[in-house]
């Protein structure tokens, strides 16, 4: 069974963020019921989902700050500015929901390298563990590994995947000495190990030895928020780079909703050189006030059909299913009952916000946070 890593975006998540009724797995499952291959069965019978959560690290950091500040904040001898800072810091524990609402996690990821790297290691560690486990088993069709990331998660995914494939994770281990008895039990001759050591390429997840079969970036923020390499120059692309024998992903889909302003601040554009394996997918359906939501993106057949077809080797939609998919209505779901003028008003407000998002500004991160806040207001206003 193929593996699909899921990486969430901005905001506080629960432990069940991926499996809850409105989460991406159940949304994908409902969408899959339209296709005879999956009808009557749960999508988990076909795809090995691996949700990766990282917002709990932000939670822990804010809680620690709040606790440290709590002891000191009201002491009268404190200098005024420091007292104010401690007052604010002590509230971080109680106000987490508010802080995350305004994208504080973005500030923590992007502004604090120490925390950004910790987040990246969470994603890298989980991916590496699953890849190592699944590929160690020989037999049948080798498992393929895909990634679906959303919003801030596209940036976290991009940074983490780039590091997974480009850093020398084993360099310390090689310096420490020879591998142990497990290697001998696997039956590889000493010459193989010596060859690997001599080649001085201690990353067993590098391009050429491993590749992702698909990477789906929904509401792609990697151009704006990345911390390791501009996306057009990283290894996270469907082209071989730096002399590798294969690219790091077979298929790359950058999915953008026409009215989603989040991906429009310093928008990512698929380079021409990446095509046709790199694709830009534009969608414009309106099924929920929160058009930016992970699940909302998955509703569109232009997203979930490629995703399902890449993740399930023997799935391809029938001719009838293709015809129905092409007739996917623009309005539906929670917005189907809106009056025509309300639909027009929502579209118009979103279009104005998109136009504002694309405006050139000096402080792009600040502008992104402002746009994010305004999108939430629109979504809450319609709900």
């Amino acid at each position: 069974m193929n593996v699909l890593f899921l990486i969430h975006g901005v905001g506080r998540q629960s432990e069940t963020w991926a499996t809850c009724p409105d989460g991406p797995i159940e949304t994908l499952n409902r969408a899959a019921q339209a296709y005879s291959k999956f009808k009557g069965r749960h999508i988990r019978e076909f795809i090995d989902f691996v949700p990766i959560r990282y917002d709990d690290i932000f939670d822990r950091i804010l809680g620690q700050w709040a606790n440290s500040a709590e002891e000191l904040k009201n002491l009268p001898a404190l200098p005024g500015a420091l007292s104010g800072a401690l007052q604010f810091t002590s509230k971080m524990g109680d106000d987490k929901d508010v802080l995350f609402t305004f994208g504080f996690d973005v500030a923590l990821y992007r502004g604090f390298r120490l925390f950004g790297q910790r987040i990246q290691l969470r994603v890298i560690s989980e991916m590496a563990r699953v890849i190592a486990e699944r590929t160690a088993k020989a037999g049948g069709t080798p498992p393929a590994f895909g990634v679906v990331a959303h919003s801030l998660g596209t940036c976290v995914a991009h940074d983490s995947i780039h590091l997974l494939g480009s850093e020398n994770w084993l360099s310390a281990a090689y310096e420490a000495g020879p591998l142990g008895a497990a290697e001998e039990a696997q039956g590889f001759r000493k010459s193989e190990r010596e060859l690997a050591l001599a080649l001085n390429t201690p990353n067993p997840f590098r391009p050429g030895t491993f590749l992702f079969n698909s990477i789906f970036m929904l509401s792609n923020t990697s151009e704006l928020l990345q911390t390791v390499s501009p996306p057009a120059r990283s290894i996270v692309c469907p082209l071989p780079v730096n002399g590798a024998s294969a690219p790091y992903c077979q298929s790359f889909y950058s999915v953008d909703h026409r009215l989603d302003p989040i991906s429009k601040v310093k928008a990512f554009s698929v380079p021409d050189a990446w095509k046709p394996n790199g694709r830009s997918v534009i969608i414009d359906h309106l099924y929920d006030p929160n058009i930016h939501a992970f699940s909302h993106y998955l509703l569109n057949p232009k997203v979930h059909i490629p995703l399902l077809a890449k993740a399930v080797n023997d799935f391809a939609p029938t001719t009838d299913e293709v015809r129905i998919a092409r007739e996917f209505p623009q309005f539906g779901g929670n917005l189907e009952q809106l009056m025509a003028d309300e639909k027009a008003k929502l579209s118009s407000r979103l279009a104005i916000l998109v136009e504002d998002a694309t405006r050139p500004v000096k402080d792009e991160i600040g502008h992104w946070l402002e746009v994010y806040g305004r999108l939430r207001e629109i979504a809450e206003g319609v709900s």
């Binding site: 590929t135 590749l211 092409r326």
Partner: protein, 338 residues
């Protein structure tokens, strides 16, 4: 080993790929020219593993696959066969890495939803089965050979991947140790340390040194020469200092030095320095006790960070109780109007 390989080779050359290979239990693998994956196919890994020399050795096995490919009667279209063969040779000759290039690609068009299978970035189209499906045996054989090469590559790297996973996990733990269990940082300190001391290279791990910057804490002061009854609670602020995590300590132990200022309700600003080992801190400072505008001509004070005071006092007070006592005393000793 050679007899086994010869036997398998004769079976393949003599009988080709049995048509009954299709329709056998499927692992939901790719459908190549209407054929599902079948474990009964002679080139399925399940069959190959029984025939290859044990333990599995990469070069010998890859060489066997190359020989099998070149001798197969199913390889009717020579150009494709030779292209596939060149990919295996490149690996055996050390000219290319292995074996991600053998992963079958399924292209899916998000506009018309069409799908297409291929190898080597569309160089071999596994969907071009011919008008009468006449290319099915050859293309299906490519599928099994490609899978076998991928599996060989994965097995070759299995131990390295396991080791890398452990190395990555160790890095995670080291970051956690510093961020959540090391010397605590307030937000402005975390920002300074991120900007100034955290390496861009993630494999370097968290910084071995940590900046202390406007770091507040509480403790107690006692003037040198006086008895314990003159111990006074004190609010400390380290304007600048550093923490050092020794090599090989994995951020579990640390020591540090800082400039020290203290604030007390009963006398003016204290100035001095402080040393710490783990969460224990000990400082020396001067207050202008005699109000002559020269703090350093007075007797010095010793500052004990909260943990060290608790340890030195020898009593079994709970940390929380002692902390509250100090805070309350500091509040009560504040000048009116604060």
């Amino acid at each position: 080993m050679k007899l086994q390989a010869l036997a398998l080779g004769i079976a393949i050359l003599g009988f080709g790929m049995p048509a009954g290979a299709q329709g056998s239990p499927s692992d939901e693998g790719f459908i190549v020219c209407d054929r599902n994956y079948s474990i009964s196919h002679p080139l399925s890994w399940e069959n190959l593993a029984r025939q290859l020399p044990s333990p599995v050795e990469f070069r010998t096995s890859a060489g066997f696959l190359l020989t099998t490919l070149l001798r197969s009667h199913n390889q009717s279209e020579v150009a494709s066969r030779d292209l596939f063969a060149s990919k295996i040779r490149a690996v055996l000759e050390g000219k290319s890495d292995c074996c991600a290039q053998f992963a079958i690609k399924k292209d899916v068009d998000p506009d018309d939803f069409s799908t297409k299978l291929s190898l080597f970035d569309d160089s071999i189209l596994l969907s071009s089965c011919g008008a009468n499906n006449e290319r099915a045996p050859q293309l299906d054989e490519f599928r099994y050979l490609a899978h076998a090469m991928e599996i060989l590559g994965n097995l070759k790297l299995a131990n390295n991947r396991t080791a890398a996973v452990a190395a990555i996990r160790a890095k995670e733990e080291e970051f956690d140790q510093m961020i959540f269990h090391g010397f605590p940082m307030f937000p402005w300190e975390a920002l300074a340390n991120s900007l100034l001391l955290t390496s861009r290279q993630i494999t370097n791990g968290p910084p071995a040194n940590q900046l202390v910057f406007l770091h507040p804490s509480i403790g107690a002061e006692v003037q040198v020469g006086l008895r314990e009854s003159h111990i006074q609670p004190s609010l400390a602020l380290e304007p600048l200092g550093f923490i050092r995590y020794p090599p090989r300590s994995k951020h579990r132990t640390w020591w540090g030095l800082s400039f020290l200022t203290t604030f007390r309700g009963d006398m003016g600003l204290g100035l001095g320095g402080m040393a710490r080992l783990q969460n224990f801190s000990l400082g020396v400072l001067w207050h202008d006790s005699d109000n002559d505008g020269r703090p350093f001509n007075s007797k010095p004070f010793i500052f004990l960070g909260l943990d060290l005071y608790q340890f030195a006092s020898g009593s079994l007070r709970r940390y929380e109780g002692l902390r509250d006592e100090i805070r309350q005393t500091l509040k009560e000793s504040a000048p009116p109007g604060d």
